[in-house]
């Protein structure tokens, strides 16, 4: 993958230029779908964009010293990592890539939640610390399942390259892995029933309590980009290989949209679970399937 392709993927499609409006669109879809399912009207179409603009115009509180600098850095890091993750997605058929870019994608997908955890602690607010601790516990719980699922998919198809994975015909094990990833997505995207770090009435805004203005706008944007990256990962893994570029892009958009709707139904249908129930769900229920998936992948690998 040469520099121009990389820059085009990062900045244009499916990178920043495409992903940022798409992130706002997905945020709107989720809010609107949840509202309609609750019998309400919900926000108008431009709402996430207008929220972003309004936040850019607000003041930030004075923060001195290294702590203040760190607090300003975390949202920027989260946005860059999420944008990079979106840029790595193999949407177009001839998008190039490199060996091991699946691992880079996973790492970049992890960075926003790491930034949230760090931000909560560096804000030196008690609510931030509690929220970050919850996010950390949640992250450990779902990440084991998430990573095992991805690794089992990659091991079963003998490749860690996203483009190859997208081109190979999907196997039964891949769909199992996709199901496991779908189970982890509500926790990753802070949706009900695993929306614990955002528990507003319990811990104010958790890790985000001390953030305001443009920094908060960056956090909202990184959240939206995480939506695009996570649903896009499921879409690229689930989509069959199509050689027409525009059709592949359309299929990517459509599949991501379906995943967003599914997650919205789940968010509207459930209430927030407490931390012990959440962790128990991931460790007891889903871990067994992830372990089964990876062991069968390795078994098939060593058998062939």
């Amino acid at each position: 993958m040469n520099l121009t392709t990389a820059l085009a993927r990062l900045l244009v499609f499916p990178g920043v230029l495409f992903a940022v409006p798409f992130a706002w669109f997905f945020l709107w879809v989720e809010r609107k779908a949840v509202a309609r399912m609750q019998g309400r009207i919900g926000p108008p179409f431009m709402q996430p964009f207008l929220d972003f603009i309004k936040l850019l115009g607000k003041d930030t509180p004075v923060r001195g010293g290294a702590g203040g600098l760190l607090m300003r850095a975390w949202p920027l890091l989260a946005v860059s990592a999420a944008a990079g993750a979106v840029g790595l997605l193999p949407v177009l058929p001839s998008s190039g890539g490199f060996e091991g870019d699946l691992i880079l994608l996973l790492a970049l997908l992890e960075v926003p939640s790491m930034c949230i955890i760090a931000a909560g602690f560096s804000s030196r607010s008690i609510f931030g610390e509690i929220g970050s601790a919850r996010e950390a516990v949640l992250s450990v719980a779902y990440n084991v399942v998430f990573l095992l699922a991805i690794v089992s998919i990659a091991a079963s198809q003998h490749t860690f390259r996203l483009e190859t994975l997208a081109q190979l015909p999907p196997s039964f094990l891949r769909y199992l892995g996709i199901a496991a990833i779908l189970v982890c997505l509500p926790a990753k995207l802070h949706l009900n029933p695993f929306s614990l770090p955002n528990a507003e009435q319990e811990i104010y805004s958790g890790p985000m309590t001390e953030y305001a203005g443009p920094e908060l706008a960056m956090w909202e944007l990184s959240h939206g980009l995480e939506w695009v990256a996570a649903t896009g990962l499921v879409a690229t893994l689930a989509a069959p290989h199509i050689s027409l570029a525009w059709l592949a892009a359309l299929l990517f958009v459509a599949l991501s949209f379906v995943v967003v709707l599914l997650l919205s139904v789940l968010a509207a249908a459930t209430a927030r679970l407490a931390i012990d129930t959440t962790v128990r769900f991931y460790w007891q229920c889903t871990l067994i399937f992830a372990v089964l998936a990876i062991s069968s992948a390795l078994f098939m690998r060593f058998r062939s």
Binding site: M37, G39, R40, I41
Partner: protein, 144 residues
């Protein structure tokens, strides 16, 4: 699967939201803004005495009085309406509007005092002293 049925019904049935800035109608018995009728008011100021929130103010002048009401103070309890003997006060089924400055909603009325009603013609002198015309003792006698 009950919750999914509910969500599906909500999606199909449309929202039950009242679109802003439309407002729902209040019922006819809603205790809202106090309405004052100066023509019926006798200036007894019982409403000011009974008002719990000091929304009603009463200032007696020479031959006239000023009655004022501030919905910003009002708690819409209705004690003034209950206490008014001449039914000059009533409550409309209406909500007070949003305002920007304190005292903006207050309205005052200056009402001229009515001249006293003419006395009826002199009645016949009371009967023989055997009968007590004192109403209080009459009541006591009835009760004992």
């Amino acid at each position: 699967m009950n919750i999914l049925t509910m969500l599906w019904k909500n999606l199909l049935g449309g929202s039950r939201t009242i679109l802003f800035p439309a407002r729902p109608k209040v019922s006819a018995r809603y205790r809202g803004l106090v309405r004052f009728d100066p023509a019926l008011c006798t200036g007894c100021a019982i409403c000011r005495f009974r008002c719990t929130a000091r929304a009603i103010e009463f200032k007696a002048g020479k031959g006239e009085f000023t009655w004022s009401y501030d919905p910003g103070h009002c708690t819409f309890c209705g004690r003034c309406v209950e206490g008014c003997k001449s039914h000059a006060i009533s409550q409309d089924p209406a909500c007070p509007p949003v305002y920007l400055n304190i005292g903006e909603l207050k309205n005052s009325y200056t009402v001229a005092r009515k001249p006293p009603a003419p006395k009826p013609a002199q009645a016949a002198p009371p009967a023989a002293s055997g009968q007590t015309a004192d109403p209080a003792t009459e009541v006591r006698n009835e009760r004992s």
